[in-house]
């Protein structure tokens, strides 16, 4: 570093200053050549592929966003259809249930009616039977009591005692019976 300062001490400052602005054709030509070669190389290996890739990516991005929007709309539509299906299914099931309920009510009313009818028939039959049986029992009772009366009368006649004695006897018989 000091070398440079020492070397320069011979030159006047005006000379050094002017050299800052000196036109230098070789420098200009070198800049042109470097820049042109760099432009060509970078165009071939950098800018062209990069700009193409950028365009492609922008296109891809644009299409992806559009696709995403489309899918979102489609999903919304599917969701709507699904809701519609669910609503329809719910309505249908509600209709089926109410129909079934009605049918069941009708069926149960029929069954009840039939049961009531059968019960009344059974009741009537039972009453009829009871009446018959009662009548039979009454007849049997009547016959037996007649028989008993006849038997009692026969025994009474056989004994034929006084009235008190008869009464006591009858009481005794009744007690026996």
């Amino acid at each position: 570093m000091t070398n440079a300062v020492v070397d320069l001490s011979a030159a006047s400052p005006a000379e050094v200053e002017s050299s800052l602005l000196n036109p230098d054709v070789s420098m200009v030509v070198l800049t042109w050549v470097t820049f042109l070669v760099l432009s060509v190389v970078l165009y071939k290996f950098a800018w062209n592929p990069i700009l193409k890739a950028l365009d492609a990516r922008e296109e891809l991005l644009r299409r992806s966003v559009e696709e995403a929007d489309r899918i979102r709309q489609e999903l919304a539509r599917i969701q709507e259809t699904r809701q519609q299906f669910i609503r329809e299914a719910e309505e249908k099931s509600r209709a089926i249930v109410s129909e079934a309920r009605e049918a069941a009510a009708i069926a149960s009313a029929g069954i009840q009616h039939k049961a009531r009818e059968e019960a009344s028939i059974l009741l009537a039959n039972a009453r009829h039977d009871i009446r018959g049986e009662t009548e039979k029992a009454r007849i049997i009772l009547r016959q037996e009591s007649a028989q008993l009366a006849v038997d009692l009368a026969a025994r009474l006649i056989e004994k034929n005692l006084d009235t008190d004695a008869n009464r006591r006897f009858i009481h005794k018989l009744i007690a026996e019976v």
Binding site: A11, V16, P23, D24, F35, S39, A46, W47, L54
Partner: protein
């Protein structure tokens, strides 16, 4: 007094092009006659960019990550915010590779100037002039190619201006072509030169005043950080103005 004299020359010497490459702990590397230090920097920057985009940048990645993402963000920015906005959709897309090369080349050269081992090629007016020349070429030949020679002439004749004024206006507009590109050249060169000069001057204070001037090293560090920002800014401005000037020539009615 003699110290300050030497310092001034030392700074200027460091800013100008030379045939020597100062390497740390090694004798200065003598460069061949056809290649100066700034020329070497151009070639290193170009090789670095080729390596960066051919090997570091992952072109196959469907989803860019890390460094690829950073480079891609810059490329998209140049395409959408600089090229398409200034030149128009179709021409902007066509000009994007040129503007990308310009931006990354200038940015790399600017940033290289901040690394101690390298020199700042963009602080050389020959380099910035040569780069601005490409802008001029597009402004002239690009417009002729696109709009024809009549279309190119139209760019210098604003609509609705009386004929008398055109005699003054047309030469001014024509000169504007060169003034614009000249300004482009000087802006980049002067910015890079001035930034480095300020850093060297700050550091030079230590040589002049001794340890009392140590805080200026911190200041130089701060300016170094600012220089990183300026490196990006100047690359952006050069690219943006190139696009704007080309756009103005392509669509003169605006």
């Amino acid at each position: 007094m003699s110290t300050s004299f030497n310092l001034e020359k030392y700074i200027l010497h460091h800013m100008q092009d030379s045939r020597q490459w100062q390497l740390p702990f090694l004798p200065p590397l003598q460069l061949p006659s056809f290649l100066s230090l700034h020329g070497l920097m151009l070639i290193i920057a170009a090789l670095f960019l080729v390596a960066l985009f051919c090997f570091v940048y992952d072109k196959k990645a469907r989803v860019p990550r890390r460094f690829t993402n950073l480079l891609e963000a810059l490329v998209i920015f140049i395409r959408d915010e600089i090229a398409i906005k200034s030149i128009g959709k179709e021409d902007g897309r066509r000009m994007t590779p040129f503007l990308c090369t310009m931006f990354f080349f200038i940015l790399t050269l600017n940033l290289m100037g901040l690394i101690p081992l390298f020199a700042t090629a963009t602080a050389n007016p020959n380099v910035t002039g040569a780069l601005a020349f490409f802008t001029l070429c597009f402004m002239i030949f690009g417009t002729i190619y696109k709009n024809g020679f009549k279309g190119f002439q139209k760019a210098f004749i604003p609509a609705g201006v009386p004929k008398g004024i055109l005699i003054i206006l047309v030469p001014i507009e024509f000169l504007g072509l060169f003034i614009k590109t000249g300004a482009l050249m000087i802006r980049l060169f002067a910015n890079m030169l001035a930034g480095h000069m300020v850093i060297f001057a700050m550091l030079g204070l230590v040589l002049l005043l001794g340890l009392v001037a140590l805080p200026s090293v911190l200041l130089a560090g701060c300016i170094g950080v600012l220089e990183v920002f300026i490196a990006f800014l100047q690359a952006y401005i050069f690219t943006l103005l190139t696009a704007v000037f080309i756009g103005q020539m392509y669509h003169p009615q605006h």
